[in-house]
């Protein structure tokens, strides 16, 4: 078993948005990308990935089209929309604020 952290509620959205900010990806690709970027610490349960994608699409932060993956497979590609970019910036700020605050608490002696 890899030492994997449970995803904090709400951070999944942030991670998806950040991943898509690097370029359009399909569902599996997003999961793998997050795993890679987090150095295998974060593993996305598929059960939460797809509902999250639908929610984000519903909120207009991401959009999807059917396209071809780098492996030449017909896949549903997700990309960041304009409001998704704004959303990402806001979420990022929030996260840093939160993480910093937690760090402060833990640093207490």
């Amino acid at each position: 078993m890899n030492p994997r952290a449970d995803l904090l509620q709400g951070t999944l959205d942030l991670l998806i948005l950040k991943t898509l900010a690097l370029g359009p990806l399909h569902g599996w690709g997003i999961a793998k990308q997050i795993e890679n970027l987090s150095r295998e610490v974060l593993s996305i349960g598929q059960g939460s990935l797809y509902p999250a994608l639908y929610r984000l699409e519903d909120r207009g932060l991401i959009a999807s089209t059917w396209g071809t993956s780098s492996e030449g497979r017909r896949v549903k590609l997700y990309r960041l929309t304009a409001s998704g970019k704004k959303g990402l910036a806001a979420e990022q700020t929030n996260w840093r604020l939160f993480a910093g605050a937690v760090e402060h608490v833990l640093a207490a002696t």
Binding site: H26, G27, W28, G29, A31, K32, G45, Q46, G47, Y50, P51, A52, Y54, R55, E57, D58, R59, G60, E71, R73, R74, V75, K76
Partner: protein
């Protein structure tokens, strides 16, 4: 906003193209697993089969994720709703008797209410088709000094109000007449409204063709015969008579031998003062010749200023009326005090709708009761059904159905039932309305506009939703506490009173049903009784086998009236099958006619009461014999009767009593008075002098006749025979209704009568030909309509009510089979068991009956105005209907009681 649209689009897509969206989703998940498989094969070097297995394990159950994703799509509630509805339809189809009865019952109730609502909405609630129609009012007077409850305006009061009122923005006089329009070969009777240009200002109407007439068009007098009076045509008359020819403007039509010029055409459907009006004729009155109270028979329509109520306007007119003193020649302080005018300001709509409005609201109330009874019935059905479903519910709960799912299922079921009921109701209402508009059994303004419109659909939908939610929660109510499985699985066997709360709900519903049905039955019984009283009332004439023919004489032949009428009567007399002929200026129950003040000539001191106007009727000898109206004493003016009396007249019994206070009337003289109470004088061209009108001599007394309406006791009337040479020309009618007593077997009398008229003189016009019975029937149309519909409603309620009572009683017996079995086993006689069941029903029914009587008595005040010679609290009606209701209710519970009595204890105790 864009986001909302975006979401809406997505949800709609998810809902409408569910298959496609689901397919897409599964495809995406498949790709995911495939990608993972290949990834595993590459990175771990395992076989494809092993990689695929690992990928699937990592993914977990596909189905669960599909559900989660569907949740995220946000259409889950709707999808579930559709699924619940499908389930509800399935369960209802398994129980067609329940579904059928519930839908039928609801459909009848909803249909009745929706139908009446559609009429009320169109006739009473929708504004009249004028600009700002809610500010239009009719101005009238009460004249207690003349014994008149309601009368119109005089010219004097009109000018006075128009000059001084600040609350009225405009006021216009109008009067109506029916005149001859000369055609190529024969004349035609047309409906005319006489009014000044201000009428169209007040109503706010513009012509579709030509222009309105204006004050400047009132240039000359028509004495020289060259000036043509301006007229406007109704759109319908223009279309029918002139084929919609736009060259009509400027054309001259000859109406009553006077040329009139067409100025314009009014918009289609313009219905003032009634939709039959074909021509509006310019009519201007001169204030210099106005009087205070000589003729109070002008109708007036006014427009209130913004924000002014009818009460405020009436108060203002009342305030400014006294200052009329001295303005007009007869406006003396004494005369004003004597007449005692009281201005009335009524909303125009109220006037247009009249008494029918009350009838419609009563009907609406009645049908609401019917709907409530229907709802109570369906509520019972749902409750009983939910009892019987205890097991099913328990199983569903045990298998993990949350309460919300049960609630949704019940709601879906009641929604399906009430939707079907609403659809059936709309269909019934639509059919009923079409029949109503087609046969128009009752004189209703704007009836032809009535149809099922968006309002009706909205109304039905609103009631339907209310009903659905109520029933759904009733079903759920039963299962709020059934969280434990045990008692339900045991079959709900319990002793009486084990669940008294539920019993109470059922009993209350039954009692309410009895109460509402009883109240509705009382209402319809009263209306039916009232209607029969009305038709059986002694009218003072025999309407059977009497044909009436309206005949008009051109004004220029006024000098020959008497001869023409006599000739027509003589010709008609010769038609085979005609037994008697006469004629009268105004037939009973048709309204209108002249009214004048009268005084006994030999009495200078008047009775303490101020004179009230008396109806003047002209008749061609033979009239009373044809109508079989008894002439109590004196000359009866049969055809050919001669008299030597000067200006002979007949008077009604009531009038004779008033004028001569019980003394003998024959041979006495009466004078016609003008508005100042002075005998009328006339200019005599022979002597070139103004001479008083000679008095009338009373030649006979006639029985009272119900003339104004069947409801009103015979009034005061004076009958003037049209015999040479003593008829005063100024009040001689240009129209007579001939009455023919015919042999019912004789064919073609109507056609022969029409020929007889044109044989005498082709310029005579024939208007309506009707039987006298049709006139009598038409006069009671509203009462008949109301009685029939209420009776149907009452019958339907009674049927539903008894079915409901039977159902509940049967259910109670079934539920207590076990208990009854124990009783029988312990030695209770069948009669005792039966009595017990009946007693329980009787308590509920009697409670309902008392409540119903209370509702009936409280509600009967609404009926009071429309009932005829029947007291709303008539003990016979109340007792009879109560007995009927209680009897039927008990009869309905008799069958279940018998079943209970014949319970076999062994069988019962074995019953689950």
């Amino acid at each position: 906003m864009r986001l909302i649209l975006h979401r809406l689009r997505r949800r709609l897509r998810a809902l409408l193209f569910r298959e496609a969206v689901d397919c897409e989703m599964r495809e995406e998940l498949r790709i995911h697993i495939e990608s993972e498989t290949e990834y595993l094969m590459k990175t771990r070097g395992v076989s494809r089969g092993e990689a695929s297995r690992l990928a699937r394990i990592a993914f977990g159950g596909v189905d669960r994720f599909e559900e989660d994703i569907r949740d995220a799509r946000g259409v889950r509630p709707l999808e579930e709703f559709i699924r619940d509805t499908k389930l509800a339809v399935r369960t209802l189809r398994r129980n067609p008797a329940f579904a059928g009865v519930a839908v039928l019952t609801l459909g009848i109730g909803l249909g009745a209410v929706t139908g009446i609502f559609s009429i009320i909405n169109r006739v009473l609630l929708q504004p009249l088709p004028y600009t700002d129609a809610d500010r239009l009012v009719e101005v009238r007077h009460r004249a207690p000094g003349l014994g008149l409850n309601e009368t119109g305006l005089s010219l004097g009061t009109f000018f006075h109000y128009r000059t001084h009122s600040r609350m009225l923005e405009g006021l216009a006089l109008y009067s109506e007449s029916v005149l001859n329009l000369a055609g190529q070969e024969s004349a035609e009777r047309i409906h005319i409204t006489n009014a000044g240009p201000e009428l169209f200002d007040v109503l706010g109407v513009q012509p579709v063709l030509g222009r309105l007439y204006a004050e400047r068009d009132w240039t000359g007098s028509n004495m020289d015969g060259r000036w043509k009076i301006p007229i406007l045509l109704s759109y319908e008359f223009w279309q029918q008579r002139f084929g919609g020819d736009s060259a009509i403007i400027g054309r001259v039509l000859t109406i009553n031998d006077t040329p009139r010029e067409v100025f314009g055409v009014l918009p289609e459907g313009f219905p003032f003062p009634r939709k039959e009006t074909q021509v509006w004729r310019m009519d201007m009155r001169d204030e210099a010749y106005a009087d205070f109270a000589a003729f109070l028979d002008y109708a007036a329509v006014g427009r209130l200023r913004e924000g002014v109520t009818t009460t405020m306007a009436a108060a203002e007119l009342d305030r400014i009326l006294p200052s009329i003193e001295g303005v007009f020649r007869d406006a003396t302080a004494e005369r004003i005090a004597e007449v005692g005018l009281k201005p009335l300001v009524l909303p125009l709509k109220e006037v247009v709708v009249g008494e029918t409005g009350k009838a419609l609201w009563i009907l609406f109330g009645g049908m609401t009761f019917l709907l409530l009874v229907a709802c109570a019935n369906v509520a019972n059905l749902f409750l009983v059904r939910s009892e019987n479903r205890a097991r099913e519910v328990a199983v569903r709960t045990a298998l993990g159905a949350p309460r919300s799912a049960l609630a949704r299922l019940f709601l879906a079921e009641s929604l399906v039932v009430s939707t079907l009921g609403a659809l059936l109701g709309l269909a019934l209402a639509g059919a009923g309305l079409r029949i109503l508009v087609r046969f128009s059994p009752v004189e209703l303004p704007r009836l032809e506009e009535v149809r099922l419109d968006a309002w009706a659909f909205g109304f039905t939908a609103a009631i339907m939703l209310l009903v659905a939610v109520t029933f759904g929660s009733l079903s759920l109510l039963r299962h709020t506490r059934s969280s434990t499985l045990a008692p339900a699985m045991k079959g709900g066997r319990g002793l009486a009173g084990a669940d008294s709360r539920r019993r109470l709900v059922l009993d209350t519903i039954v009692a309410a049903q009895v109460a509402l049905t009883l109240a509705l039955l009382v209402g319809s019984a009263l209306m039916v009784q009232s209607y029969f009283r009305l038709t059986e009332v002694d009218r003072g004439y025999n309407a059977h086998d009497v044909l009436t023919v309206e005949v008009g004489v051109p004004y220029r032949k006024a000098a020959q009236h008497q001869q023409l009428y006599q000739d027509v009567a003589d010709r008609m007399q010769r038609i085979p099958g005609v037994m008697a002929v006469g004629a009268v200026s105004v037939l009973p129950l048709t309204g209108g006619g002249e009214e004048h003040l009268l005084r006994a000539a030999d009495r200078n001191v008047q009775p303490d009461r101020v004179n009230a106007p008396v109806a003047f009727r002209f008749f061609v000898p033979g009239y009373f014999q044809t109508m079989q109206t008894e002439v109590v004493e004196g000359i009866s003016f049969a055809p050919g009767d001669r008299t030597t009396l000067e200006h002979p007249v007949l008077v009604s019994e009531t009038l004779a009593r008033r004028l001569f206070s019980g003394e003998r009337a024959i041979g006495r003289q009466v004078r016609r008075l003008d508005s100042e109470g002075e005998p009328v004088s006339l200019f005599d061209p022979a002597t070139r002098k103004v001479v008083p009108l000679p008095p009338y001599t009373i030649a006979g007394v006639v029985r009272d006749v119900r003339d104004a309406s069947l409801r009103a006791r015979g009034g005061e009337a004076m009958y003037i025979p049209v015999i040479a040479p003593h008829v005063e020309r100024s009040i001689m009618p240009t129209e007579m209704s001939f009455v023919l007593r015919t042999d019912p077997a004789a064919p073609g009398v109507a056609a022969a009568a029409r020929r007889a008229v044109s044989d005498v003189d082709p310029t005579l016009s024939v208007a309506r030909i009707r039987t006298m019975e049709a006139i009598v029937t038409a006069s009671t149309a509203t009462e008949r309509f109301l009685a029939i519909l209420l009776l149907i409603g009452g019958g339907a309620a009674l049927l539903m009510g008894s079915v409901g009572i039977y159902g509940i009683a049967a259910y109670n017996v079934r539920r207590r089979t076990h208990e009854i079995g124990v009783r029988v086993a312990l030695g209770a006689a069948p009669v005792e068991v039966m009595r017990m069941v009946l007693r329980e029903s009787a308590v509920v029914v009697l409670c309902g009956a008392f409540a119903g009587l209370a509702i009936a008595v409280a509600g009967s005040r609404a009926l009071h105005a429309i009932l005829f010679e029947v007291s709303p609290t008539n003990p016979a009606v109340l007792a009879g209907v109560t007995a009927l209701m209680v009897g039927i209710a008990l009869a309905a519970s008799l069958v279940p009681a018998q079943r209970a009595a014949s319970t076999d204890p062994v069988q019962a105790l074995r019953t689950d």
